[in-house]
Symmetry: C2
């Protein structure tokens, strides 16, 4: 599984653990809902500035966000 | 300082701690030297696939790579 799909699964898990819809999370992360949907499906290749937004939206650090199984 | 500049400083510190030139590191990370130079100067906004290459080249995890001071 490539890193984009691993990240997508991680973001989805973390979002669902918060009980948020993609809409709710997109608003918190200051991103467009369709972009969040693309990240979770692993079809986006987010830059570090977007990773920072995703982490802030999830209320975690970037390190926690990219703690993907190697 | 924005996240790209923080990352650049972090990459430079980690590379220098290994005693590698930008050339040496670029080769290890399978990236172009001018791109590495741009990352270290904070003028690049690397995607997660590039972050994975940078981390592998530095022989650390992505989590360690993006452990930037908040």
């Amino acid at each position: 599984m490539d890193v984009c799909h691993k990240l997508g699964r991680r973001v989805q898990q973390l979002r669902q653990a918060k009980g948020w819809s993609q809409d709710e999370f997109a608003h918190r992360a200051n991103l467009h809902r369709t972009y969040v949907s693309g990240v979770e499906r692993g079809i986006r290749n987010p830059t570090i500035t977007v990773l920072e937004k995703l982490a802030r939206g999830l209320e975690i650090t970037m390190s926690e966000l990219v703690a993907l199984e190697e």
